[in-house]
Every structure is written in C-alpha cells, then in structure tokens.
C-alpha cells in the first residue's frame, strides 16, 4: 500500500504542536504486541525454513527446488510424489505457499524471451520480478499499461492472485496476459490462449498456483510512457463526494482514508507532458510516524481524535507532492514497513458506502491508524478474478506487523461481506469453498479444470484444500 507523502519533519512538527496544545502528556496506548510475530528460526547448518514477506507464515519444506530450465521443470514436476507449492517472492499474506513437501521457486526462470514490435506483445519468463519488467520492456519500446503499487513480486506470483494496480480503465495484471505456458502436475507443457486450451487459459490466469506452474507468458503492452503523480490531502467526505469524477477523469486514481481523522489523500496519476522533467525523489514511509503521532495524542480521552486530526492537517498543509518519471517507476512504491493486510473487492459503485462503514467500525472500536487504501479496477473474464464480470473497488486494510490485527480484520471483514466483497487471494481472509463458490459464477468450471489437471492434489496444501474445497467436493 502507499502511505501519504507527508514528510517526517512535518509530522514531527505537527505532533509537537498537537501535544503542546493538549498541555498534557500524550496518553500512549499500550501495544499488546502481536502473537503473530515472526516465527522463523534459523540454525546454521540445519535445513532452511521458508517464510513469507510478512512473516506470518512459516514452514519447513522437505525440499527446495529452483529449476533452471523449462524442460527441467516440466519433466521433474511430473515425477514428484509429494506436495509441490510454487513460490515467487512470497509476498502473499495468505498461506498459499507453506508445505512440508517441496517448495518450487520460479526465480531462476526469469527475463525477457522475445518482443513483437508490431503486435506490441512481449514474452517473458514467469519468474521475472515486476521491478525488472519495466526496464526490460522499455529497452524494447514497450511498457505495461498498468502495474501494482509494489513491484517485489514475480510475474507468476502476482498473476496467480490477480494482483492489480488502480485505474477504472485498466484490469489486473492477470488481464494483461495474452497467452501462457503451463507445466501441469503430470509433466506436460500446455500452450494456452483464447483459442488453444481456452478453458485452461481462463482458469490459469488467476489460479493460486493450483493448476501447475506457469513457466512463461506473453503480455499485451503499449509504447513506453511517462506519468505524473500528484498527491493532495483533503477532507475524506469531500473526496468521496467527488470520487466518481476523480476515478473517471484520471488515468489512475486512488484514495487513502486516515482512520480517526476527517482526512484522506487523493493520488491522481496521469500521463506527463513532454516538458515535465522527471522527479523521483525517494519517498518516506510515513506509517510509523503516523503511529507515533497517534500514540502521542490519540488516546487522550474526548479530544484524542480531534488533536490527531489537527496534527495531520498541519502536516499536510500546503503540500502537494509530485512524482514524475517512467510509468513503471511512478506506479511502484517502496514498502519497508512490515504489515499485515486484508483486501476485498466490492462492486465499484458500492465503494464509498463500504469505506464509510469501515471508518465507522474503526472509529467505534479500534485504535488503528494505518491508512486504508481504496482503488478501482476494470472488470475482466478470468474465472477466479476478484474483478470477474464486474468493475471493482478494492479496499485494503492494514495493521503493523508488531500489532495484533485479528479482531480488527474480523470486524471489517463482516462489512466487506455485507457489500458482496470478494477477498484478494493473496491477502488475509477467512472464507472457505462454501462461501467462495457463491461469489464466482465460473467456480465449478475452475474446479473441473483443476480436478482434470491434478486429480491427486499434488499442487494443494491445506489452505488450498480449504478455499477450493478439494477433497470434499464442496463445490459440486
């Protein structure tokens, strides 16, 4: 997620102003600490465990395997007896990867394979990291039309979960796939697109890594372009009242709501003019500073939220940060603060009401300040995509990794359900097959493809058995 471009100096000044105004010491809520702190233990010389980025899932695989060629991957995958789980950058917050079987890393299958200048398509190895894609494509006169706001992930991992950026005119990263090659659990290599193996194509563009391993994919691109990103802080109600226009008139638009305040941030990204020079100063991640500020004043009975609001207002006054540069550099942001995340996608027109209700839940019960991320994504025809057949508004809530997120997430998840939300496959949620099957019109089609490709469940760990209902045939 993106935190606001409020600087450290302004935040500290504002915190001081607010604390002084209160004439009392800030009441500091006691951090209970998280029972979900990193569990990974390292003992030199012992088998290396695996952990995801957020360190909320750890496992001890019996083998780690990084194929160096497509042939090796295909032939060896077919010979595997136990569970195999593919891993990219491990950025998912949900337990898509953990297994006591084999972890298969796609990292060594990376890079650009070919580019077609006429069709504006490029074929890349699926283990390519997103941060590599921009420069690689640019060198061939191409660029992806949109990108997620973080770029640590592999292409395979990001598309397996329909990872997305923002912009109502643009679909998820998965929707940019023109064709792909899938190594099946039985050791075949299938070429898939809308004409060839179309059902597998529709299933595998967002497959949770449950159908096999995608080795390479051809992406639809466009000519390289530059973007300008402008951030401004305003009253959240002012922004929400204008949100349809903001979403329609900007190439990319996202909004951040600041809990326990009346403010939010509007981030508007459009194509840069030729005479606008690039300016990509490193961003500061303000989340920790906002937490310190809230701890300083937010707990003061009766006026805590008011003081926090004043401090945020002072911090943002007169500031409208601008970033200009190549599309891939502007769309991606740094993420060094460790957090846990839940995201649901609700129908686009339900976004404002859903966000307002979430803010109310937080205001009435949770001392949470992590900004809430609010984005729009165009509909697609991918069977398990959160944007399947409907334009979506993706709303993400976060909690610092050293604080317990569980009660907060549980309360907000109930709001998401009320608005017919679909959970992000790579983020925290509590739904199983019985609920998920109601959310996806082509659920049974996906399960049929999975059953046919992997009848023994080689690609399934416990989490996938739960969400896909594999074994119990909850979907049938």
């Amino acid at each position: 997620m993106t935190t606001t471009r409020i600087t450290r100096r302004n935040l500290m000044r504002s915190a001081l102003v607010a604390s002084s105004a209160s004439l009392v010491s800030g009441c500091k809520p006691t951090s209970t600490g998280s029972p979900l702190e990193p569990k990974l233990k390292f003992e030199s010389g012992a088998a290396l465990p695996w952990s995801n980025w957020a360190a909320n899932h750890v496992c001890e695989p019996s083998a780690r395997w990084a194929p160096t060629s497509e042939d090796e991957l295909v032939s060896q995958l077919g010979l595997q007896q136990g569970t195999v789980r593919p891993v990219g950058a491990g950025h998912s917050f949900s337990p898509l990867v953990p297994t006591d079987g084999t972890i298969l890393s796609t990292d060594l299958l990376s890079g650009l394979i070919s580019s077609d200048d006429e069709t504006l398509r490029s074929e890349v190895w699926a283990g390519t990291r997103l941060h590599q894609l921009g420069p690689l494509l640019e060198a061939k006169g191409q660029a992806l039309p949109n990108l997620p706001d973080i770029d640590y992930q592999t292409l395979a991992g990001a598309t397996a979960t329909s990872t997305h950026g923002t912009g109502i005119k643009f679909g998820s990263l998965s929707s940019q796939i023109h064709s792909l090659a899938l190594a099946t659990p039985s050791g075949e290599l299938l070429e898939c697109d809308r004409e060839q193996n179309p059902e597998i194509f529709h299933a595998s563009r967002c497959s949770l890594g449950a159908l096999g391993v995608i080795t390479r994919m051809t992406l639809n691109t466009q000519r390289p372009f530059r973007l300008v990103e402008r951030t401004r802080v305003d009253r959240i109600e002012t922004l929400l009242e204008d949100v349809d226009r903001l979403a329609a008139e900007n190439r990319h638009f996202e909004l951040y709501a600041f809990p326990h305040s009346s403010f939010g941030a509007s981030i508007e990204i459009n194509e840069a003019q030729e005479d606008e020079a690039s300016s990509l100063e490193p961003e500061e991640d303000a989340a920790e500073l906002m937490r310190d500020m809230f701890r300083g004043v937010g707990g003061i009975p009766g006026i805590g939220d008011f003081l926090y609001d004043q401090a945020l207002n002072a911090a943002a006054e007169g500031r409208e940060p601008v970033r200009i540069g190549p599309s891939y550099a502007v769309l991606a942001h740094e993420r060094l603060t460790r957090f846990r995340e839940m995201e649901y996608t609700v129908p686009a027109d339900a976004g404002p009401a859903c966000l307002r209700e979430i803010l109310e839940v937080i205001r009435n019960g949770f001392p949470v300040i992590y900004p809430i991320e609010y984005r729009y994504v165009k509909n697609d025809d991918i069977w398990l995509s959160m944007f399947h057949e409907r334009d979506g508004c993706s709303i993400s809530i976060h909690q610092f990794a050293d604080e317990d997120h569980r009660e907060y997430f549980k309360a907000v998840e109930r709001v998401f359900w009320k608005y017919d939300g679909r959970p992000h496959w790579g983020k925290i949620h509590s739904l199983g097959a019985a609920e998920l099957t109601q959310l996806y019109p082509n659920w049974k089609d996906f399960v049929a493809v999975r059953d046919a490709l992997d009848p023994s469940g080689k690609m399934l760990n416990d989490h996938l058995k739960m969400v896909l209902g594999a074994g119990s045939r909850a979907n049938s």
Binding site: P38, L40, K41, F42, S44, G45, L48, W50, S51, N52, W53, A54, A55, S62, A63, R64, W65, A66, T68, Q76, Q80, G82, V84, V87, G88, A89, G90, H91, T102, I103, S105, T106, D107, L108, S110, R129, H131, Q132, P135, L136, A139, D151, Y152, E281, P282, E283, D285, E334, L336, T337, R338
Partner: protein, 132 residues
C-alpha cells in the same frame, strides 16, 4: 557523478546484466581482500532480488558500495548478517524474498555486500543443488 547517479547506474546494470556486473566486481575485490566470488545463481539472486533495494539510495537501506553503512553492519560479524538476512530485520523481509537461496547463498551475498571475508567461518554444506 553523484551518489544517486552512481546507484541508478548500478541498478540499471544489475537489471540488464547482473551476472556480468557482479562477477566482475567481485573478482576485482576478491584478489585483494578475499571477497567471495558469486556463483552464477548468486549473481542472479543479487541482480534480481537484492538489487531491488540495495542499489536504490534514499529508501533507508544500505546500498551497495556505501562503505560506512556496511562497516557498521559488518561489525556485527558475517554470521549475524546471515542470520538477519534469513530471519528478517527492520525493512529486510525474511530470506530477502529469495525462495531459492540456500544458507551458503545468503552467506556469499552478505559477505559480498558487506565486503567481508568468508574465511572467518568454516564452510557450511551448500544446498545449491538440492533438488527433490
């Protein structure tokens, strides 16, 4: 050329030709200071994964070539760097997001970035070729 420009240049090199860049750099310092020579896969890990953050100035992580920052970290010893890389510390995620790196890979990469000698520690078994 200022530090930002140098880092941007390094990053571009890492993206486009990580193996060649890292191999040549490590070779040049290893002769004098017993620095590790990265294998092809370790070079790929550096260019594809480590470089995402460690050649970008201003984001709060020590960048390659920032001697002062790496000396502070190196003072803890190579084994502490390896352990922190694997378990994660601060903004550094567990395993540095490398799904294939072995302990030996992490040791080489940490020594390479911090300009530390591998000779301070006995070799650990390499999992480089661990396949199912």
């Amino acid at each position: 050329m200022n530090r930002n420009s140098i880092s941007k240049f390094l990053f571009a090199l890492c993206v486009f030709c990580s193996v060649e860049f890292v191999a040549s750099t490590s070779t040049s310092v290893s002769a004098a200071e017993e620095q590790p020579v990265l294998s092809e896969r370790q070079s790929k890990a550096f260019g594809q994964i480590c470089a995402r953050c460690h050649v970008r100035p201003g984001i709060g992580v020590p960048i390659l070539g920032d001697t002062a920052e790496w000396e502070k970290r190196g003072a803890k010893g190579l084994e502490a760097l390896v352990a922190n890389t694997i378990t994660g510390i601060g903004g550094m995620p567990p395993l540095g997001t490398c799904g294939f790196c072995s302990e030996d890979d992490f040791r080489h990469l940490a020594a390479f970035m911090a300009r530390l000698s591998l000779k301070t520690r006995a070799e650990t078994p390499s999992a480089e070729h661990a396949k199912p």
